[in-house]
């Protein structure tokens, strides 16, 4: 499902001058702006920028860094301590993206869903709730915990069904602690070959600006947009077919 990075949207767009007026809407005093659920980035009325909403589920073992990743992607304060998440938490973040062909700019509104492993284990309704109407899943492992890497395949097949139409990405966390790394480059390469899924690396115990999160957010946006385009075209084919049969009946 995943597409070649940069084939649909402009990669590293945040570095280009023409992106400034869009990115400035998601920033406040050099940090990411916080939005309530009733809010969205404000653009001048004549610019007419569409916002598309996606639900993204973050999955992985306890302590692997799910809550930390959600905070990182939204540019929020990074949890230094590991406190178990005892329920479902969502984090909304906006991300402007420029489509390559049409030069159209869109705001992606990602809603990251994060559920602590212990809550997931103790309460049956957590997993179905996270999967309800989900558009993408991030599967996490930690570079400092080999077990979490080896469990990946298990995790993916446990949570997804082959019929699910969801974007899947893999994220390796704690890449900054390379001294303690338990997972090698060749492990990752082999995994990519077997599963055909992209693997992203994140690390560092602070959220360090747009550049750090741009590759992952752009890839997510690109894959989701691609998935929607395919769905839309199959729907239009289906409706075309349907209307044809209709006419036949009338005739």
């Amino acid at each position: 499902m995943s597409v070649l990075p940069g084939s649909i949207i402009v990669s590293h767009w945040h570095r280009f001058p023409d992106s400034k007026e869009f990115f400035s809407r998601i920033l406040h005093k050099k940090r990411r702006r916080k939005f309530g659920l009733l809010e969205a980035p404000m653009m001048p009325p004549h610019m007419n920028v569409d916002t598309i909403r996606y639900k993204v589920f973050i999955s992985g073992k306890t302590g692997v860094g799910k809550s930390a990743l959600a905070a990182r992607l939204a540019g929020l304060d990074f949890p230094r301590m590991h406190y178990e998440t005892t329920g479902i938490e969502t984090t909304v973040t906006f991300w402007p993206v420029k489509l390559k062909d049409s030069e159209r700019v869109l705001f992606f509104r990602f809603e990251f869903w994060d559920c602590g492993e212990s809550a997931m284990r103790r309460f049956d309704h957590m997993l179905p709730s996270c999967k309800e109407q989900v558009d993408a899943m991030l599967f996490l492992f930690s570079f400092t915990d080999r077990g979490s890497f080896e469990d990946l395949s298990n995790q993916i097949s446990r949570i997804t069904e082959s019929s699910d139409r969801v974007v899947k990405l893999v994220v390796g966390t704690k890449f900054d602690l390379f001294m303690h790394t338990d997972v090698t480059e060749s492990d990752v390469t082999r995994f990519k070959e077997v599963w055909g899924l992209p693997v992203f690396r994140v690390g560092g115990d602070v959220s360090a600006g747009l550049g750090e999160v741009a590759p992952l957010l752009n890839a997510l946006a690109e894959d989701l947009w691609h998935q929607d385009c395919i769905a839309a075209s199959s729907v239009s084919i289906a409706t075309a077919a349907l209307s044809q049969t209709d006419t036949e009946i009338i005739v």
Partner: protein
């Protein structure tokens, strides 16, 4: 035992004294001391005496309490400048226990089958416990942890917000809804006040506060008194940064549905109103129609019937005379307010401990007042930093901190005026 200002919380199994966890100050107490603390309590119990607290000459304190005959919580504080009172430690233990029940349920805690497993499970309470420990002296203007009353912020002309909250709650298949502004209750449904115990509201608000960074959440919670063995769901939505709406509900609606179908339908029309509320509370906890005297340094007003409280700590003083002494720092004023509250409820006023839920095993804070046949309704205290005046009626308690410049004989009328000014303007 501990350094000044340090605070530590220990949890052990009551029957065998196995330590489950210890939180708080970075330097942990040595195992031998933990053992002795448990031992001395057991020794007392063996002789029919219940050890509940002790104090050193330097203001260090230890407070013990056993919950459900299953777990023992011990709070140990170091002395020093801002010594923590026994009442604060006692409340801390109560709040910690209630948080543990809220997260894990009573069954898990009251019937220990496997200690190792429980040790793992209690980790999920650390976030709230650490927050309670941190905020014991820095509630940022919130005193609910001590008063066991819900911290509130009275909003002016807000009938529409209340109506919207009521219908939103109903649409979410619930009767328990609450609008929280910067951690304080701005509005709640009728059942939220009438059916939840004040102690439950206090820990629910602590949980909601701990979630203020997230956009929405779906947390399973047990209510320590109303539903200690069956989890219900707390749904919470961040409408604006600093404004959260929460409901307690059953299996439906799912977080996804509630977020998608209900949220903007009910709340989008109120966006500007909510922004206004937020601005108002950023300026002052009290609505602009209330004019406090300029020499009021801080106040705590408790509604004893509904168990709600407002804490006010003005940021600037309006209309102060030129030779007025500058305001004390707000942290200091809150600290003084805490001390005065503790002083008054342990000596003169009935503390708000009267809930049937507080077990008989808890000893009365102090027996000083028991020699009196009457209930004091007013009290005052003059220190070298400020003057304090407390008054209580069947419905309210007011704790007031003023400048030294207010003549002592005038304190009573300042307090009565302040009380009627606030209640008239807010209906609190």
């Amino acid at each position: 035992m501990l350094q000044a200002e340090a605070l530590q919380l220990l949890c052990l199994t009551a029957s065998s004294g196995v330590p489950l966890f210890s939180r708080g100050s970075s330097k942990q107490l040595p195992f031998s001391i933990i053992g002795s603390l448990n031992g001395v309590h057991m020794f007392g119990a063996g002789h029919g005496a219940q050890l509940s607290s002790c104090e050193t000459e330097h203001g260090s304190r230890v407070v013990w309490r056993v919950f459900q005959e299953s777990l023992m919580l011990i709070a140990v504080s170091g002395g020093g400048g801002s010594a923590i009172s026994e009442l604060q430690l006692r409340r801390l233990l109560e709040n910690v226990w209630n948080c543990m029940v809220m997260v894990l349920g009573q069954d898990e805690l009251a019937n220990i089958r496997n200690v190792e497993r429980l040790k793992r499970e209690v980790r999920s309470c650390y976030h709230l416990i650490d927050m309670l420990l941190e905020r014991i002296n820095d509630g940022q203007g919130m005193m609910g942890y001590l008063t066991q009353c819900a911290d509130c912020v009275p909003l002016s002309n807000s009938g529409r917000v209340q109506e919207t909250l009521d219908s939103f709650t109903q649409a979410a298949d619930s009767e328990f809804g609450c609008l929280v502004v910067h951690g304080r209750v701005a509005h709640a449904t009728e059942k939220w006040w009438s059916r939840l115990a004040p102690q439950e509201v206090v820990v629910l608000l602590a949980l909601v506060y701990s979630l203020s960074g997230t956009s929405s959440c779906d947390y399973p919670v047990f209510l320590p008194q109303g539903s200690p063995t069956v989890a219900i769901r707390l749904l919470c939505f961040q409408l604006l940064p600093g404004v959260q709406v929460c409901v307690l509900c059953g299996p439906k609606p799912s977080l996804y549905q509630a977020g998608k179908e209900l949220l903007s339908r009910f709340w989008s029309p109120l966006l500007e109103t909510l922004r206004g509320c937020l601005e108002q509370t950023d300026r002052s906890i009290l609505p602009p129609s209330v004019n406090l005297r300029w020499d009021v340094q801080a106040l705590l007003l408790i509604n004893r019937e509904s168990r709600r409280a407002i804490t006010v700590c003005p940021r600037v003083r309006g209309g102060a005379s030129a030779n007025a002494t500058p305001l004390l720092s707000s942290a200091r004023r809150l600290e003084l307010l805490t001390h005065f509250y503790t002083f008054a409820v342990t000596r003169y006023f009935t503390s708000e401990d009267v809930s049937p839920a507080s077990p008989a095993s808890e000893p009365a804070p102090e027996d000083f007042s028991q020699g009196f046949t009457h209930v004091p309704v007013q009290c005052y205290l003059v220190t070298d930093e400020c003057k304090c005046y407390g008054l209580q009626s069947p419905q309210h308690q007011l704790y007031l901190l003023t400048d030294l410049s207010v003549p002592t004989f005038a304190l009573r009328s300042v307090a009565t005026q302040t009380l009627s000014a606030i209640t008239a303007a807010t209906g609190f």
